[in-house]
């Protein structure tokens, strides 16, 4: 017993830190891969509703985002509390949607124009009126592939029937 502990105590246990950069680099690469640089600051409050029948949006470059919700605290004085549309990083109206879609479309190769999806990130408490206007405008602009952004309810596992 004594012999063991003595031997151990003598050797200086210096952990080599040479591999530390490698570990950090590994973490770094992980985050670089999963990261999506947020291109726009959210000016409207968006809490997407819960749903169960979700499909995943695969390619980020083929997706454009339309946010609908009430302006956040900071912008209330200027823009009021009525639900507004945010395209890119600014408040917009329905009439700005065609230009916004076109701006995104030119960045996508022509062969893949049919695969462009509009992701509607709409707050659950907004009424359908404004959503309907957006939908109508999207239809008029020929953008028919739409994804209503939603989340999985963390409290309900599997495909439980949603009540309330």
């Amino acid at each position: 017993m004594a012999k063991f502990s003595k031997k151990r105590g003598k050797t200086s246990p210096a952990v080599s830190t040479a591999s530390l950069p490698d570990i950090i680099f590994m973490l770094l690469f992980f985050f670089m891969v999963v990261t999506v640089l947020r291109d726009a600051e959210l000016k409207v409050k968006v809490t997407t509703p819960y749903a169960t029948e979700l499909t995943k949006l695969e390619e980020k470059s083929l997706v454009n985002y339309i946010y609908v919700g009430r302006p956040v605290e900071r912008y209330r004085e200027l823009y009021g509390t009525k639900p507004r549309i945010q395209l890119g990083d600014k408040f917009s109206t329905v009439n700005d949607i065609p230009l916004f879609l076109e701006r995104h479309r030119i960045k996508v190769p022509e062969a893949r124009h049919g695969q462009i999806t509009s992701s509607l990130r709409v707050d659950g408490e907004v009424t359908m009126g404004i959503v309907q206007d957006v939908k109508t405008q999207l239809r008029k602009s020929g953008q028919l592939k739409v994804n209503y952004s939603a989340r999985k309810d963390p409290k309900r596992k599997g495909s439980g029937v949603k009540g309330d």
Partner: protein
């Protein structure tokens, strides 16, 4: 000359100790800017826009499953008030019609779900209703797939199988122009 050579010999090893710090800096930058967003949602194909009035096709009432949602977020399904958690089951029974009920769809291919909401309906409820109807179809597809092929229905199953299932039970959901009674 001699001097430089001496210098070369001295500094032929770069200190890699600061490498970790640099990597840390980058790591922290990406940690801060990262948003692991789950880009998920209900994918919908909107009908193309046309200025003309759609031609009115008479449908047998037994083939239409009408869902109305009013501005108070209440549901009226085929003329009856219904809580939202019964919608899925009712829709499934309507589409499949296992007992050949006179009042329900003749065949799954003829079943049409008609959804109409108000401009004052809350988006959350609308999406929930849409989700339930989609879930009804998903469950029917899954049942058919298990029964016929012994595998659960999924997006990446054999294309021919998927097509056969989708042909047998097509997803037909028509959305009417909403009413405007309860606009905010």
């Amino acid at each position: 000359m001699a001097k430089t050579r001496a210098r070369d010999r001295m500094s032929n090893e770069i200190n890699a100790g600061s490498m970790a710090d640099i990597a840390f800096l980058l790591l922290i930058f990406f940690l801060v800017t990262t948003t692991i967003v789950e880009d998920k949602g209900i994918t919908v194909k909107l009908p193309p826009w046309s200025e003309e009035e759609p031609d009115i096709t008479k449908l047998k009432t037994r083939n239409v499953f009408s869902v109305l949602v009013n501005a108070q977020d209440q549901l009226l399904v085929r003329g009856e008030i219904m809580p939202i958690d019964q919608l899925r089951e009712k829709a499934k029974v309507f589409i499949a019609n296992p007992y050949n009920d006179e009042t329900m769809a003749e065949k799954p291919t003829k079943a049409i779900i008609s959804l109409k909401n108000d401009r004052g309906t809350s988006y959350g409820v609308y999406l929930q209703v849409y989700n339930e109807l989609k879930a009804a179809y998903n469950e029917l597809w899954d049942e058919l797939s298990r029964q016929r092929y012994g595998v659960p229905y999924s997006e990446d199953m054999k294309f021919a199988w998927k097509k056969a299932i989708r042909d047998e039970i097509p997803f037909v959901l028509s959305e009417a122009e909403p009413t405007a009674f309860g606009e905010e």
